[in-house]
Subunit: 503 residues, 2 copies
């Protein structure tokens, strides 16, 4: 077969992979939005079967041959850059899967699927001891995988690669260290400040349907394309892109705290804008996706924090919010409202943390993950170390393990290397905001007028469209002129919270 | 491999087939309920790709070997009856697909997919001439397929087999002939009767949300299990069972004619009860499905007509309907209402036909299909023959082909042999009703009290649970003691409409 023909066949092959991904994606979305309860077991089984089929396809001899042929020396002169890049991306996954002995991979799959339910019960019963032996096995597997996959420097580097390609322990130690050292005094500042916001008015009854109407208005303002998407209700909100023409947002309504839906929708809307604005040229290829967890999170956090917690945004939208509410804001001036939704204070639970303290929750997890993988920390010591770090960074100590080391699901399914992306995303977002201001110095005016299109367009130009054609660091450097740098985030937080809390 | 091991592997194989079917089913449901418009093309492509994968699996060597091994003489003594039956069902499909040369099948697939859009335009423009050459090719293909597949007696038998296994032209000629001869005088009776119902009050504004609430109440009454299903809105209503624990109903709301949603929901609800009550033992096998189009339709028509158009049912539910309406029934006594929703009159469009005239629309299509396949009728003569038969059977002549021969989509995708199932389903339903009355003489009382569980249980016992373990004729004989027989339907219609129209 000529190289050109192989290239065409390869693209057909990727379309097939994409078909499986889309079917699996839709089944996940359906299971988490409105699928009948009784069908849950069958759905899990079907998802398992089709995921296995997809995995087989990705690691098939056919895939291997495409990789071999299309990456042969000189091939890049004949095939498109999209083809070359896509082949490289598939090769990464292919090579990784081939390096793990099949029986070990199977054992690991069974283990993680079992451990997720063990974790669920352990969390419910505040019972770390039952969870411990499972987690120990998972850590051991991940240490072994790192060796199979290979790495330079720290073994943890082999694991981060799955979530944030190109990121390393050296870089993270530097960046997270600086961020941590900058954040701790800020936490102390807000904690000791007498200028705390009154938040009591936030928790009044706000009917679900009205929250939905407001959420729809805000998505519209964000230029989310409803002809290529929809908004549904779920328990753990997410956004999912089946393809750029079908990107769905989900949210959760708490009738006694409207913030859950509002900020949740804006956050997921940010993810969705990334997926809706991937370049058409990438459709049907493995490149038609966010380039990393960190860059994806930078988009959601950009909108959630730099747009959604921006004063100008609320100058524009506070009256709209009021019009949907049952009057809970009637006696609340904008400034009071603005401070209330930007309350910062140390807390125990990551997913409930505010934008200022959030990164500390992540850094603490990163430090422990790294030490588990290097062998410097034992699973049995996790609860103690967790509590010590919480006290050191945030000045609070969990009353029990359920509200401490057991709070997150991630480790139970073996996602070591995932947590850093959350804080990286936030650092990236601040860097992007800083760069965007040079091109769009009128950023706040756009928020004030509810005209967010230029913001989306800038992000599409610099981030969205490229999909996986660019690595995270390339995206960052091309858009901002520098590599990962926590200074911009720290500056933003310092300025904002010193103002709000007057310290 | 031992036979027992082969059997276990075969069941795993069927689970995989079922996983594809369920994914494809969900994607169809989603596309027809709430999927974003812009994603339509991608969805079609994905559906095409996964359907091809499923087809490949079903006709794979692996499937061939299971068939070969599990149907070997004596195998049935070792494996379960479910395994034997499932293998036989798969063999039918496998053999049929192997008998058509691959390039012809491909050509036919392209042709039918193209013809569907040609038909759509032809119908819109009342342009039979453009459609004619496409339909001629489709008829030719179907005549060829009949020869490839083989048949006894009439070549049309080879085609019906796909939709109503065991049914033949001989039987249909007899049954449909008697039905037609019994119906024509009834049509004349209602047409010439001066006792026509006043239907004007049917067409008042009935808000969509209220129609939905009523639809939900009625599904509940039918014992549809909402934990294993849901009700959504669509353009062309359908029910779909992904598996017995996930069976979804869709309906359409016409705010100026509540009947569309009410009778549509009851109809689809009947289909859904079949799928929800398939035996657990059949789950994950190819037998976990309705046994034929005709038997499936018998379930929907049973509920639509024998429950939903029953006077007792409305004695129970008329006040409920009133409570949801905007007052359109305030001055309408139950008897007037009952006659109005049972209006019978000749009309042009099959899908709008009432329960009395409906079968004549089907019989006319059957007679023409049969003649096309035998070669006794040419495609070019269809419009003329169609109009002649409409005049002969129903006393009406279509003003144009769009409202005549071009009205249905079926032929454009090659579904020759499908139409008879609609009328067969109705005949079956009347037979089942007749048999049910012997076990449940209090049928009307159950409708009156809104306690429909015994009716569902009888149908589950006699029809639902068996899935494809029994052929349509076995279902019928075991449940009613006789083969297909139009007498019960004719008796029902004669009694009901002579009463209503006093002739």
């Amino acid at each position: 077969m000529s190289l050109k023909k192989t290239e065409a066949a390869f693209h057909e092959h990727m379309k097939k992979l994409s078909a499986y991904e889309q079917a699996i994606g839709l089944m996940h979305w359906d299971a988490r939005t409105g699928a009948p309860k009784k069908g849950a077991d069958q759905r899990s089984e079907v998802l398992g079967l089709l995921s296995t089929e997809l995995f087989k396809l990705k690691t098939s001899e056919e895939t291997g041959e495409y990789i071999h042929t299309l990456l042969e020396s000189g091939a890049e002169n004949t095939v498109s850059s999209i083809t070359t890049k896509a082949t490289e991306e598939l090769k990464k996954e292919y090579d990784r899967s081939k390096k793990i002995p099949e029986d070990e991979f199977k054992e690991y799959s069974v283990l993680t699927s079992k451990t997720e339910s063990v974790w669920e019960e352990a969390k419910e019963n505040n019972d770390f001891e039952t969870f411990q032996p499972y987690l120990e096995k998972i850590v051991d597997f991940n240490r072994k995988f790192a060796e199979y996959w290979g790495y330079e420097g720290h073994p943890y580097n082999a694991l981060i690669e799955d979530y944030e390609p190109g990121m390393t322990v050296d870089k993270l130690d530097d960046v997270f260290g600086r961020l941590r050292n900058g954040l701790i005094p800020l936490v102390e500042g807000v904690t000791s400040s007498p200028h705390k916001p009154d938040t009591s008015f936030l928790f009044e009854h706000f009917p679900k349907e009205k929250q939905r109407a407001f959420s729809l208005d805000i998505l519209e303002q964000m230029t989310y394309d409803f002809k290529a998407g929809r908004l549904d209700e779920t328990v753990h909100p997410f956004a999912i892109g089946l393809n750029p023409n079908d990107v769905r947002v989900t949210t959760k309504y708490d009738e006694n705290d409207f913030r859950t839906a509002v900020f949740g929708t804006i956050h997921e809307g940010g993810h969705a804008l990334y997926e809706q604005n991937l370049s058409e040229k990438l459709e049907g290829t493995v490149l038609c996706d966010g380039t990393s967890m960190g860059i994806h999170e930078s988009q959601s956090l950009f909108y959630e924090n730099f747009v959604g917690r921006n004063r100008s945004f609320w100058e524009r939208n506070y009256d709209l919010l009021k019009s949907y509410s049952n009057g809970q804001f009637d006696d609340v001036a904008l400034d009071r409202f603005y401070h209330a939704i930007n309350e910062a204070k140390p807390s125990l639970i990551r997913i409930e943390a505010d934008e200022m303290t959030y990164s500390l929750h992540i850094i603490l997890r990163y430090e422990m993950e790294k030490a588990l993988i290097s062998g410097d920390l034992q699973v049995k010591d996790l609860p103690r170390v967790w509590n010590e770090k919480m006290e050191e960074y945030l000045g609070v100590t969990p009353p029990n393990n359920s509200k401490g080391v057991l709070q997150d699901v991630h480790w139970s399914f073996g996602a070591f290397g995932y947590f850093p992306s959350y804080a990286l995303g936030y650092i990236y977002a601040a860097q992007l905001k800083n760069a965007m201001l040079k091109d769009i110095p009128t950023f706040d005016d756009h928020c004030l007028r509810g005209e967010l299109a230029p913001i989306k367009e800038w992000l599409t130009e610099n981030v969205h469209q490229h999909g996986r054609m660019k690595k995270p660091e390339e995206i960052l450097k091309d858009a901002t002129g520098e590599g990962v740098n926590p200074v911009h985030l720290l500056t933003y937080l310092k300025e904002k919270y010193k103002g709000l809390y007057q310290f």
